[in-house]
Structure formats: C-alpha cells, structure tokens
Amino acid sequence: MNAASFIPLLLALVLAPLLLGIINRTKALFAGRCGQPFLQTYFDLWKLLHKSAVYSRTTTWLFRAGPMLGLAAILMAVTLVPLGNYPALIAFPADFFLFACLLGLMRFFTVLAALDTGSSFEGMGASREVFFSALAEPALLVALATLARQTGSLSLSTILSQVSGGHWLQAGPVMALVLTALMVVLLAENSRIPVDDPNTHLELTMIHEVMVLDHGGPDFAFILYGAALKLWVLSALVVGMIAPDTGTLWLNLVISVGGMFLVAVIVGVVESTMARLRLLIVPQLLVGAGALAAMAFLLGLNK
C-alpha cells in the first residue's frame, strides 16, 4: 500500500458530488434550461454544514446516529471499489459481498432513522426502500458473480481489471446482460428515475427523499454526501466493466474518470426521457434485472 493506492479513494471523495451536478445539467439541457452550476452540490453541502439543527421531539439518539453510520458505511464501501482498471485501496477475495453488505448497513440505518420520526410519510418511504433493495441485492450479487465466473477471480479489483475487450468480443451477450442488470441496480439503489424521482420531496410516490424529510443541517449534509458517494461507487462498477485497459496507469485513470462523467450523463438522459414507473411495476423491473443477470450467468457457464 503506497500513496498512489489512495488515488481512487481521494478522487471519489472529491469528485462524487460533481456527478449530481452533471446529472442535473444534463436534465436542464433536455428541458431547455440553463440549469444549476456544476458545483451546486458542493455549495449545498457547504451551506448545510454551517446550519444549526432542529430535531423532532419524537426522535431518539438513533435519528442522530443514522446519518453518521450511513456515511461511515459508504465511506468504507468506497475503499473497496476500484476505479476502472485502477485497483481499490482494499481488495480481497469475496470483497464485493462486504461491499453489498455495507450498502445494506447504510440503508438499514437510514430506514430506522426514518421510522424514528413516527411520520407516516417516512414510514412509507422506509417500507418501499427496504422492499426494493431486498430485490435489488440478489441482482447485484448475481451480476458480479457472473463477472467472477468469467474472469475466474473473486475480488472486485481483479475482476474489473481483468474484464477487457476480449470478454466483450468473446462473450458479448453475457457482458451486455450484466451491464444492463448493473445499470438497473444503479438506478434503483440511487433512487433515480424510473424507480424513484429525486426531485420532489413531498409526494406519496417518493422513496429515498421522503425518508430523509426530517433531517436537516449537518445531518442532511452527511446524507447528501453519502448519496453522492453511493452513486459514485455503483457508477465505478459500471465504468470498470467498460473501461479499456490502455496499459498505462495514468491514462486508465483519466479514461475512468471520463467514464464516470459519461455514466452521469447517461443517468441524466434516462431521467429526461423516461417517466417514473408505477410502484407496482418496480418489483418486476428489479426481478427482471436479477433474471437478466442469471441468464448472463447461464450463457457464460462454459467459459
């Protein structure tokens, strides 16, 4: 472990909020508006960190601990995810199971903090969040397991650095199916259209945003930053699948960061061109993503 192995971590910590800015600018472009500055999320974070806090009388210490635990979990998860072909800070066999469980830990405490307010809106959001992610988690695991079978290795860093153009040429359909499944998981886990709409807080159809209604001040800054990091790590998985290996570490890094921005643009395009699905349809989408990943696994069974 040397100083250079901290680069993916540092890039994630610094650039993650920028992804939200890119998505919003893309959406503004489609809507014919100028849109917010790219750095708007940074301004928001700065503003929130300087606010004081107001808590509901119903809440307990759990409500205050929730955002902090969530941020700690996602920070830990960031150290496990490689950036393109650049290996992660921590890598070991089966590390993506820890990755999935850390996302689970973050979600669990977000949900409990929401339930702590005793609000029916937040209960509603919490109920949907746990339900959808229970369906998304197997899809994520199967998608990554398919890549593990393709590359014969078990750690995210080696899997994603070994997935190369060769795999796309030999087993194109498998890779495409896995990529689709991962993309669906990315949209679902980050509360993006077509699963959830991050723009509105108060409608009964919302999931993530309605869970964090009662948070404010520094707590909300932690939540916002955690959400940006979560978008970053799941995008990094997608980028890791498609980024080519040029043989030069620095060039790989540049390409990967470019890929991250591209994923943000794609998310923006999806949000601009699609409507949010009805909630009853969402489970079908998620189970469908799992089925696609399982199909990819079967297709790629004979390596």
């Binding site: 808590y55 009388r57 700690a72 469980c101 949907r128 746990v130 369906l135 199967v142 593990a148 707590d219």
Partner: protein
Amino acid sequence: MTLLLLAMAALLLGAVVALLLSGSRRNDVSVVAAASVVVAAVLGLIPAIQVLAGGPVLQLRYPWPVPFGEFFIQLDALSAWFLAPTLLLSALCAIYGVGYLRSQAGKRSLGPVWFFYCLLVLGMTLVLLARNAVLFLSAWELMAVSSFFLVTFEHERESVSSAGWIYLVATHLGTGFLLVFFILMGRETGSMDFTVWAGKGIHTPELAGMLFLLAVVGFGTKAGFMPFHVWLPEAHPAAPSHVSALMSGAMIKMGIYGLMRSLTFLGAPSIWWGWLLLCIGLASGVLGIVFALAQHDLKRLLAYSSVENIGLITAGLGLGLLGISYNQPLIAILGFGGALLHVLNHSLFKGLLFLAAGSVVHATGTRDTNHLGGLLEKMPWTGALFLIGAVAICGLPPLNGFISELAFAGASLKAITVDPAQLAMAGLLALVGIGLIGGLAAVTFAKAFGTVFLGEPRQPVETPHEAGLAMKIPMVLLAAGCVGIAFGAAWLPDWIVPIASQLGGLEPEKISAVIQTPALVLAIVSICGLVLVILFVAITLIRCGLLSGRTVGAADTWGCGYARPSARIQYTASSFVQPVTTLFRWLLGANRQLQRPEGFFPTKASLTTETPDLTHEELYRPGFLKINWGIAKLRWMQQGHVQLYVLYIAVTLIVLLAWKFR
C-alpha cells in the same frame, strides 16, 4: 470428565431442590436453581474449552443395565463446539429467568418450571455427550419432554396448551424417524456404539441414502426444516421468554448436531445429499424469513426467523457436502465452517433477541408489534441491545452474523468460479438465496425494531419500565459476544477448521493448502470492521464540533403541513411490510378482513390481517383430520371395560405365539 459429571450432578441437584421448594411461593427457588445452572455451566465450560483448544478427547464408559445400553459419554471437538454455547446460554437465560419470573412468584409455584429447566439443560448436555444410541435417545426424550412442560408453563391459556400439544406430537414424530435410523444403523454394524459406527461406514449407497433421509427428517423436525418447522412458531411464543431463548438458541441446534454427527457415520456422501441439504436450507431460509416478516407477534416473528437461520446453517452444510463430493476442500471447509460458526452466532443473537423481546413483553404486557412503539426512550438498554441483535442477525457488518454469511458467500463464490457447471449452479443458487434472505431479513428486523422501539406508542400501554439488573446483564453479555466474535474473527479458523475437517473427513494436508486465504480474509474483514467504527467515531466528533455553539432546536415531526400529528397516523408493522406481503401473497395466503368506510358520513372502517402457517393449514391440519377420521372408525373397540382390554392383550399374545410357532 470429572468436571462434566459434576456439572451434570449440579443440574440434577438443582432440579431436585427446585422440586422440593416448589411449595414455597417465593423467589428463592429461582435463585437456587439458577445458581445451580450457572455452577454447572462454569464446570462444563472448562473441559469444553480445553477440548476445543486442542486438548485430548475425554470419555467415560459405565455399564447400564438396559438392553443395548451403555452409559458411554465422550467429549470431542464437535460436541464441545455445541456444548459451549449451550451451557453459556443456559446459564445466561437462567439468570434472566430469575428476574423475568419474579412477577409470577406470588401467583404460582415456580418449582416445576425450574425443575424442568434444569432437566432440559441436563438433557441437552447428555445429547451432546452420548455415544450410545440408547443413551442418546433417552437424553433426546428427556430434552423433548422437559421442554414440553416448559412450553406449557402458562397452560391455563388455551393457545399455550394447544401449542404444547403440537410440539409434543411433532417432536415424537421426529423421534420415530430417529428410532428407525438407529435400529437400521445398529443392524448394519452390529453395535449401538457411535464410535464403532463412525469407524465402519455404510457400504451400500442405497442404504446410506435411506439412512441419510431418515436422519434429515428426524433431526430436521427438531431443527425446524421446512416443512417440519410447524411446531416452532407455536411453541416459541407460548414459552416464557428465557425458555424461548434457550429453545431457539440451543435446543433446535441439537437437530443440527444430530445431523452433523450422523454424517460422520454414513461414509462418503453422494452428490444428491449436498443438493438436498442445499435446497432444504434455502427453502427454509427464504420461506422462514417471508413468514417471519408477515408476523405481528414479536416472538412468533423471532421463531420464524429461527427457521430462516437453521436454513442458512443447512445450506452451508449442503455446500460443504457438495465440496466434498466434487473434491473441493476449500468449499467444504467454508461450508462446514460457516455452518458451525452460524450455530454459535445464532445462539448468541437469537438468545439476545428473545431475551430483549421478553423484556418488552414483561414491560408492556403485549407481544403485538402493531400496538407498540417508542420504547427506545423508556427502555434504552433493551432497545439498544435489541438493535445490536437485529444488526447481527441481518448479517450486516461489522457484527458476527456477517462473518458467518461471508463464509457461506465465500463457499458459493468459490463454487461459482470452478468447474463442473453443476457446482457453479449450486453456488449461484446459494448466492441468490443468501442475498435474498439477507435483504428480507433487513425488512423483517427493520420492521421489528422500528415498530416496537421507534416512533410513538401506537396504543396507550401501562408505563413501561426498563428491565431489571438480572435481566439486563445476560443481554449485555450476549451482545458483547456478538461484537467479540466479529472483531476476533481472525482467530476463528484455529478453532473451527479442525471440527470442519473432522466432519468432512478431510486430510490435514489438503486443508493447510487452502486455509490461508480465508484466514487472511477474516483478518482483513475484522480490520474493516474496526475502521468502520473509527470512521463512525470520527464523523460523530465532526458533527459535535459543527453543532457546538449553535442552537439545537426541538419541534414536531414534519407532517407536510399537518399541525396535529397523532400516534395513529404512523405506519404500523402491517403497513410497513405490506408491499412484500403483497408480492408473496400466493405463498402466505394471509387472511385479510377489510371493512371499507361506507356512506356519506363514514364512521367506522377496519382492516385486520393475519398470516397463519401455510404447512399447518394446508398439509398437517387436513392430514391429521383424515387420520382422526380414520381412527374414529375404530372407536367401537373402545368400550371402557377393563376386562375387554385384558382380553385384547390376551388375544394379541396368543396371535403372536401362534405366529412364532407356526
């Protein structure tokens, strides 16, 4: 061995004293009996830990004048691995029981409950130590019968006594299969001695397969495999909470122990054994957790969650067997090792959860999650401890549940990357199962913790009080165990690998070649857990720094402009899981009674949901009704005259004699 005998003597003594003191309506009997269980546990834990640390196998033979019987007990690593958590949990639950039963002391005699408690612990100890089939079955019966009397502690309530009968019938049907299993084993090997059985092995694969099936059904009934789990969700809520904790944390593991022990008798496993256990395990896991999340009764929910955890353990065993069949020692070690570790983990966190649930019942007088809420403020200790148990049981880092799930995931991932394709498919199936079970467990325990401890009380209850010291200390120790195992994970292979290799009959060279990677992973994962804690502390400090000197206000929960929030507008336990129960409607078959608001000025509307057990309703009830109907046809034989019954006996004897001398 002397210490073990002394431990058993202490238990017997405790039982006898409890019986003698049963006339008194004071709390003394609890203290005396609990003290004897604690002494027994301390005495028994010393040899168990010595054996686990690599000490010699202890054994003792003593003639026993029963046909084929011999008082032959032995403590090897496998027994010790189960014995240690059993004794630990017994002692902690006994201490808890002193506080829990205090309120009952004036109302009823506590002698019997402590008598049977001591006998239950004695029965479990003997089951683990017995190496003679007759002794094993006697201990098995002692365990079953004493737990039956514990379940029916509050026998005057109709639901409790019916739960007790279901349990008694189920456990004896299971014992019936075991009886056949042991008789066939005895006939095959000409001995009733487990050590002989383990050396010989079964030569015809058909017979071995049949014996395996008998063991799965017989031991699976005790462990709670779907669909033999039907007694679990009835008996666990009916029993007093410290007994539920002991039954769920330790007693059902005797089924797993029996299955593991039988595997050492049966020789090399066929491939279908592994598949069968994997499928049973995943089915129990998924169905168990789906039924758990639909329950409103807190203890019933925990009982179904035990079915889920037993499922995970069984799936791990299945993966281990597949690893042996396909000659993949790493998969075998991870599967068996994960199963063994989960046995220990489950006894810790399920014990903790049942005890915490008991404190809730003790404080509020209700188990219905739809009526509770906001207890974290009134019961901060119980709430925080329940939370630790919930995080652990969901398999979330950094607690111990995650470590055993990581072992299962490691086994399935290893299976995914190797050939043949069948093994990869098994790995994929297991991985999907583990992911789905993990996600649904998070739903279940977010619901359980969220609706009981968070928000506002949904119905006015008597002012709840925090659990007393005798109830708090056992819970704190169990929670400390959950944390300790997670952060000491790097040392686990030293303890578990010898047992796992004994189970799989693996050679030490094969194991030492593959064990480095898992050991390293465990060490890294412990460090990751530590980093997670450090990150959390750091963020907490940052937040404190940011908020110091600023005003921290208090207000009502934001109700989107609604200014008079009421506790009744909160999400309830039923509404929280409604999306999932709708998805699994075809499976759960939940009863829904909806009375819609009607008219121009609607006054009343109501919705009640209830999820009865599928197998109970669709399989066992009709089946037993058929049997009942058939038996009713024979009722003319029952006239109630003693002479007639003597005649029946005489006729039977004559027929048997005639058959013998034909």
